[in-house]
């Protein structure tokens, strides 16, 4: 954090380092894992590659960024829609991807929930689902964008202009890269722009009750408030 970043209270302040807006593009791969009941889902969850867990949690949240409520991850959705298990679906849906900095830890959380549920409700395991769950996976390519925040004004402008894929890349996926309970925006605001409280406020935004576009707007509002 530089002295200049801390003491210049205007939109034009110069952070220690620019923020480079990137984005990620995903390609869906179909894996060999599938499930026709909850017991098979549990088994496939144990065996599938990490990028399948990523696809059905982090990535599906991005694909359905426009939905405000009731869509958390594909496992929860399938437990409700295809297996008619609202209790299990509710618990699976409560898994907040932002509490995880590794996909393996996220997998273990789903396994724990599924194992507990099937232990208490063993007859549900073999009941055929209405439709098959196909495990997919994401191949990812990270791309630059033409936006960078050399000043706070440019940072805010970048936030407004980049695609929602870029917002997801920096705000939600980032924790898997950072291995921190944080995001790229908050890290940069804290480390390079000296706006620690702003960084914390952004990190507290609830991504499960608003659309990703609304998340973007909230981030912009929080940063602008800190600069005025």
């Amino acid at each position: 954090m530089t002295a200049q970043a801390v003491t210049t209270p205007a939109l034009h302040r110069t952070p220690a380092k620019p923020f480079y807006f990137n984005t990620s593009a995903h390609l869906l791969r179909i894996t060999r894992y599938k499930a026709n009941n909850l017991a098979e889902l549990l088994e496939a969850l144990r065996q599938c590659p990490e990028d399948s867990i990523f696809q059905h949690t982090f990535r599906t949240l991005e694909e359905h960024h426009f939905i405000r409520e009731g869509f958390s991850n594909d496992f929860a959705h399938w437990a409700l829609a295809a297996c008619n298990e609202p209790g299990l679906a509710e618990v699976l849906a409560s898994v907040d991807v932002r509490e995880f900095t590794s996909v393996e830890a996220l997998r273990l959380r789903f396994l724990e929930i599924m194992e507990r549920d099937l232990k208490n409700n063993p007859q549900a395991g073999a009941r055929p689902a209405d439709e098959t769950f196909y495990f997919c996976a994401s191949d990812i390519v990270v791309l630059p964008t033409s936006f960078q925040g050399r000043t706070m004004q440019e940072f805010v402008e970048g936030l407004r202009q980049v695609s929602l894929h870029s917002i997801h890349h920096h705000f939600i996926e980032a924790r898997l890269r950072l291995k921190l309970m944080s995001n790229d925006f908050s890290q940069w605001l804290h480390e390079d722009a000296g706006l620690t409280e702003t960084a914390r406020a952004i990190n507290r935004i609830d991504i499960y009750t608003v659309t990703l576009e609304e998340v973007r707007q909230q981030i912009v509002r929080i940063v602008e408030r800190a600069l005025t």
């Binding site: 593009a25 390609l27 179909i30 359905h64 426009f66 997919c136 191949d139 964008t145």
Partner: protein, 449 residues
Amino acid sequence: MGTMKLKSAASNPKPPDAPSNHISPMRPERRTAPRTWETPPAPAPAPHLQDYERIVGAAVLEELRFLARELRGKTVKMVNSTAVGGGVAEMLNRLVPLLGELEVQTHWDVITGGNDFFEVTKAFHNALQGSPYELTRQAREIFLTYNEQNRQRMQFNEDVIVIHDPQPAALIRARQDKSARWIWRCHIDLSNPHPQVWGFLRPFIEQFDAAIFSSQSFARQLPIPQYLFYPCIDPLSEKNKDLDDSFVQKVCDEFGIDRSRPIVTQVSRFDRLKDPVGVVQAFKLARKYVDCQLVLAGGGASDDPEGAVVLKEVREAAGNDPDVIILDLPPWCALEINALQRASTVVVQKSLKEGFGLTVTEALWKGKPTIGGSVGGIPNQIIHKMTGMLVHSVEGCAYQIRYLLTHPEFAAQLGRNGREHVKESFLMTTNVRRWLLLLQILLRNGLKV
């Protein structure tokens, strides 16, 4: 019941302004004559990449340009079996110029063959989708002979060769070494293929570097990576582009549709698997509680004997109901279909079996609250209660029609979500992105199994 049919002048001796014989006797004053086309209109010019900016935003186009930058200098060849007609040719007609604009040089070649070849490949196509078939030695030889002729005629110097569907699959034998990447793009449902036909084709498919399917459930267990490319719609095509409301009104006037009352529409061929009779039954159940009209707009009845039978069944189910408007349209009525979808209050696609269901995509893109049968690719598009309503029965369909017509705010929210869902996953620009990603992954990162 009002039934209108648009067809070519050659088979319809009435002058263009003559009213249809099938116009309902009810409220005839509302119905002016539908236009009759003597020939299909010339296709609209293909849009440019920049034209999509107002729809998907500058940032999405920028992503495409960044992805394409890595591929400059690379060349791609697409090979399929027809240059016109059918969904694959329609898609390539849009995709190839867009890739070209992104400076990914893409050539499109079409294989040639005699009637015997196309009879065999048509039979393969049906067998791979589950129809009974006896694979003979002669059929195998015809398939291989024409593939060999095409292999000798064509050059394969590009960095990536994409073979569409089974017809040209044996061209993989042209592969000299591992320097080029070969991709098999399967547009058909392989979930329950004829074992003999699939057993014959599979050794060819396994020689490709990757395969692409339109649905998770269509994929097979293969030793090569399999990717999921959903079918897509072009938001700038005649079927989907924005229309002036005056045109929508004009089309409704021509067909005798009253826009002051709710309109429930299903657009699909007159095919039992689309369950048009079930839609009429659902409409009649719903209308006990809410005022509405039903529009069934389709085609296929004039050139398909089974379609004509189904159309007759639909007419019988509709009886003399003046609020059931049945339109048998020729395939080039894309603008009229677009207008009918836009005029609708609720769109239904109550299929009993479905491929992907692009009519659902079209309705969602137009922001329409949509009810779909929970089959094929429809659940990929309709997330129940979020982007539309899934149903499993006539009664369920009737209930959802009633619910959506009496809860307009909820219906509007479904429509907004549905449009966003299409924008994210089922537009032509997303398809271009998938191709660029796949080319990058295969060329840059090597192969991943």
